[in-house]
């Protein structure tokens, strides 16, 4: 038999650690273990190419020519390692939805989120917002009687947060975050000064100090607060006891990678590479780490006793076809670092970590409800990162037990998420699309009138993106059915069953009511509309407390291999090591018992760095010399 292709992994098929997935978690752990001298194999299912400058430019062009600028629009379709796409969902007349992409969905509500299977993972299309979680977020079960507690506290994670902020390259205002209560070290500063705030932030700051009462009679005082971001700005010379910070540059082009200049396309791609990505970590991987793309892991292989012995995967050459070759590799430690849903899919198909029956369960996201309005004057949208500030006031404490807390992002990108602006403004100003009867509208504008109309309308767009906490609920889950639902390579596709429970729905409802009050305080004209259009409910529509509401996905999949102290009700321990298998780790947002209202990448990275330390200890223990009492020794004693 002739092997179709050979790779470095077939020449040396045993590694100290094999890591599945080259996103943030996988890359950070590979970097740490590699730095300690371990031989590491990092397998990525998707395509590479973006690590070169021409590949990066190609992604920029792909994004620019895409009709719908969705998070995966900068990256090509991959048959061998398909990614979910937010465009896979359609609303159905009379209610419900259809899903015809990579995900099979059978829940009451659609799971409206995607991720990216490519080198760097979703760390390629992410926004780069990196708030820490609050101490309040780690024990909602005990404190508020909903959701699940972490086996860790904010204090335990603080040093790893700091490390993650260095690795990701964070720009932020530490004093502001201290005031918010998420940074406790009085001397801490971020590696770089905060990204400048937008004019919209300043516009919103006019109502600082206003008191807003939500439907649960929870009253909060508004403060516009900046968001820390993994984006290059001005390095802070005071960082790291005045050692300063050297910003990491672009990948693929030497001496490049400037500070954020407000290109406003962070999701999906920063053309100047001011936005941080896992490719930066990968560029510094030592030689004892082998990184291979186009390797789709199919199963984790069980070994003796409860241990695992490696992984089985399929290698492909052409992402447009399903032609692939099965291979396997052995390793002392296996780390699953795919997305939460991919990790669950792999564990389920491998039939591992089954004791708790929690694998695939507790699927979470941040259901995000949008609110939009026109300010009475121009506020300067469509410049800068997706958001630079938010109202953090409804995130912690108070009546959190009665309604899910929420974080209000102040959008810098106008109504783009809510209505597809600014293109939708152009379409309607031109009178395209016709009326209900199909007749071309007579009142379309052209020339200077069109420009003035667009400038006026678009320039006044305000949008709030309100991310609501969703707590762990075992009914929200990922399952597989290999006999019925497989992808082109024969791997089981994820089947999602998703819903919002009453606590979360109350959060969405409260968020909607609060947004109305904020717009009133800003003297802006609200345009928020969650009602069905021509009898067709919008995607993510539900009625709650006699109100039409909708939610979007935030791309924050979590909970599917939940962390806990006990093997009977959780999948991994606080080091993200499976309770059932001492040398199998499942890392990433899937481990999180709760995600509060923080964008999860920073917390995920902190957890990954903490896991890397434990994996190092495990590997060191495995390689200790065995002490054998010799016969000679016995004699001497006697």
């Amino acid at each position: 038999m002739t092997a179709a292709a050979t790779g470095p992994e077939t020449r040396r098929d045993h590694y100290d650690a094999v890591i599945v997935g080259a996103g943030w978690s996988g890359s950070l752990i590979a970097g740490r273990l590699g730095g300690q001298g371990w031989r590491v194999l990092l397998l990525e299912a998707g395509e590479g190419g973006t690590e070169s400058w021409s590949g990066h430019l190609d992604s920029v062009s792909t994004y620019r020519s895409a009709v719908a600028k969705v998070p995966n629009s900068a990256y090509r379709h991959n048959t061998a390692a398909p990614s979910p796409d937010v465009l896979d969902l359609s609303p159905k007349k009379g209610g419900g939805y259809t899903a015809d992409g990579y995900f099979v969905q059978d829940g009451p509500l659609p799971y409206r989120t995607d991720y990216l299977r490519a080198l760097g993972g979703s760390g390629m299309h992410w926004l780069g917002a990196v708030p820490r979680m609050h101490a309040d977020d780690f024990a909602t079960g005990t404190t508020y009687g909903y959701g699940r507690d972490w086996p860790l506290t904010a204090k335990d994670l603080e040093p790893y947060y700091e490390e993650a902020e260095r690795e990701l390259g964070v720009a932020g205002d530490a004093a502001e975050q201290r005031k918010l209560g998420v940074v406790s070290d009085p001397d801490y500063v971020y590696p770089m000064h905060a990204i400048p705030r937008s004019h919209i932030d300043e516009h919103c700051r006019r109502i600082d100090g206003a008191e807003i009462t939500d439907p649960m009679e929870d009253t909060r005082t508004l403060h516009v607060t900046g968001i820390p971001q993994a984006r290059n700005s001005t390095p802070n010379p005071a960082y790291d006891r005045k050692k300063g910070y050297r910003p990491k540059g672009a990948v693929g082009l030497p001496n490049y990678g400037e500070r954020c200049v407000g290109n406003a396309s962070c999701v999906p791609i920063c053309p100047a590479q001011a936005k941080s990505s896992p490719l930066r970590v990968q560029a510094d991987l030592p030689e004892n780490v082998t990184l291979l793309t186009r390797r789709v892991v199919t199963r984790v292989l069980r070994g003796q006793d409860t241990r695992v012995r490696g992984v089985e995967y399929r290698a492909y050459n052409d992402p447009a076809s399903s032609v692939s070759e099965a291979r396997s590799v052995r390793a002392d430690i296996v780390v699953l670092a795919g997305h939460a849903i991919e990790n669950a899919r792999l564990l389920l198909f491998s039939e591992l970590a089954k004791t708790s029956d929690q694998v695939g369960r507790n699927l979470m996201d941040h259901p995000t409800t949008l609110a939009w309005a026109l300010a009475e004057r121009s506020v300067g949208p469509y410049r800068g990162p997706g958001h630079t500030s938010g109202w953090e006031d409804f995130r912690f404490h108070g009546k959190r037990g009665e309604r899910a807390p929420f974080r209000i992002e102040i959008s810098n990108w106008g109504w783009s998420w809510a209505t597809g602006a600014p293109m939708s403004n152009v379409t309607s100003a031109l009178g395209l699309g016709g009326d209900a009867g199909g007749t071309v509208k007579p009142d379309g504008l052209l020339g200077p009138d069109l420009r003035r109309k667009l400038g006026d309308d678009i320039g006044r767009q305000l949008q709030l993106q309100i991310a609501v906490e969703q707590s762990a609920n075992p009914k929200n889950r990922v399952t597989i059915d290999p006999s019925r639902h497989r992808d082109a390579l024969g791997n089981p596709r994820p089947i999602l069953t998703y819903d919002l429970d009453p606590h979360t729905r109350d959060g969405v409802y409260a968020a909607y009511r609060v947004s109305e009050k904020i717009f009133a305080a800003l003297e802006a004209t609200p345009y928020t509309d969650h009602k069905p259009v021509h009898g067709v409910p919008q995607l993510g529509h539900f009625r709650h407390r006699e109100t039409d509401l909708t939610y979007q996905g935030a791309g924050h999949g979590a909970g599917t291999h939940i962390m806990g102290e006990h093997a009977n009700d959780s999948v991994v321990d606080s080091y993200q090591r499976t309770h059932d298998h001492p040398n199998l780790y499942a890392v990433g947002c899937g481990s999180m018992p709760s995600i509060g209202t923080s964008n999860p990448t920073l917390t995920m990275s902190a957890l990954a760095l903490r896991s890397a330390e434990q994996i190092h200890r495990d590997l060191a223990a495995l390689n200790q010399p065995v002490v054998v009492r010799s016969a000679a020794g016995e004699k001497e004693k006697a």
């Binding site: 290059n232 990678g257 200049v261």
Partner: protein, 396 residues
């Protein structure tokens, strides 16, 4: 130019006094700047989206020339000089004779992306390792030789007077990495002989290569990936072929082909002046746009002047100014030349880089106003939103 020609005319010598050394460093600043309009023209005349390899090669050299300018200013400040950028003689009218180099070199003009332009670029960047070394009247053969003279002058002066007496500039005037990074390397403060020699090494080796090779020393100095030195980066475009890792400076590149498409450029008449455009003001908006471009370029010079003279944070203001230049260039170069005869020949409009004393005066006022509006202060975070706050109503 203020000093460059004077230094050139005086001929090759190692500066023996501090005064002379400062003149040399100011001349260095001027020579570094002289290349910028030349390379900008080459880059801006590439039709958007085409010739990507060439575009990014020219852009990378342009960034490094800006780095060299800043390092030259740091050197000058370190030895107690005062960098002059905002000066009506700082920018000379193109085409211009390249000072501190061989007398026999052709004039340096503004040329569109073409083989001719690349020949000019190669002329500017000719390294010592391949220059003919013919003895001439002035004794100059390359810019590298000029920097070597500065370095020797510095070493001698330190020996003679001691480090303290030579490096007596105010440390606050130095531009540091927080204001300039990931753009062709990073800027560092010059405070003693060691850092001064490193700065000189960066400038010469990025330009002409290290130790008689085609490579620069970014890997050794900054711990970054090494790159081809400027001459060789340009030679790849000119010859349409990449260098292989083992190629030597004197031989043509032997690696794979580079995709260069000379037709994907806007041909220009590089010697055009705004006065020529003015004659056609009635039929073409090019005149106004060319004047505005020069105004913005003057603003850039004014930003740099202030950044080099104690307000290093003004470097932050140079960033949006350069973005504006890029956008204005894209709008300007795509127009036919306003002169119908030239347009008939396929000529497009181009920026003239003519900067008058009046332009600089207005630029100065504008920059002062913007610095005030943005509350730019050294060591404080950079936030330019104050600049556009007033114009918020005009967003529409």
């Amino acid at each position: 130019m203020i000093f460059a020609e004077k230094v050139h005319d005086a001929g090759f010598e190692i500066p023996k006094t501090l005064e002379k050394l400062r003149e040399y460093l100011q001349a260095a600043l001027e020579v570094e700047h002289l290349t910028i309009p030349v390379y900008m023209t080459g880059m801006y005349t590439i039709r958007p989206g085409t010739n990507r390899t060439a575009y990014y090669a020219i852009r990378s050299v342009l960034l490094e020339e800006m780095l060299h300018m800043t390092l030259a200013a740091n050197l000058l400040n370190a030895v107690g000089g005062k960098p002059q950028v905002e000066h009506p003689n700082f920018v000379k009218e193109y085409p211009v004779k390249l000072p501190l180099s061989s007398e026999k070199l052709p004039m340096i003009g503004l040329r569109h992306f073409s083989e001719e332009a690349l020949r000019t670029f190669l002329t500017i960047e000719t390294p010592r390792s391949i220059s003919t070394g013919v003895r001439e009247g002035s004794g100059w053969t390359s810019i590298g030789q000029f920097y070597e003279a500065i370095r020797q002058g510095l070493v001698n002066l330190v020996k003679e007077k001691g480090e303290h007496e030579v490096f007596k500039g105010t440390p606050d005037l130095q531009v540091g990495p927080e204001d300039f990074y990931n753009s062709g390397g990073e800027v560092f403060a010059v405070k003693d002989l060691e850092s001064a020699q490193t700065a000189i090494r960066v400038i010469s080796e990025q330009g002409e290569g290290v130790h008689d090779s085609i490579w620069d020393s970014d890997d050794q100095i900054f711990g970054e990936e090494r790159q081809l030195a400027h001459y060789f980066r340009f030679n790849e475009i000119y010859t349409g072929r990449c260098y292989s890792p083992y190629d030597s400076p004197k031989r043509p590149p032997s690696g794979p082909l580079v995709d260069v498409s000379w037709n994907d450029a806007y041909p220009i008449n590089g010697d055009s002046k705004v006065a020529d455009y003015k004659e056609h003001q009635a039929t073409s908006a090019v005149y106004d746009k060319a004047v505005e471009f020069n105004t913005v370029y003057a603003t850039l010079l004014s930003c740099l002047h202030q950044a080099f003279n104690g307000q290093s944070r003004t470097m932050g203001l140079a960033v949006p100014t350069m973005l504006e230049l890029r956008d204005r260039a894209e709008q300007l170069y795509r127009n036919p030349h306003p002169d119908p005869e030239l347009a008939e020949k396929g000529c497009f409009a181009s920026a003239t880089f003519e900067i008058t004393a009046k332009d600089l005066e207005q630029a100065r006022e504008r920059v002062d106003r913007l610095v005030d509006a943005a509350h730019l202060e050294n060591d404080e975070p950079i936030d330019l939103s104050g600049i556009t706050a007033e114009s918020r109503e005009q967003f529409a």
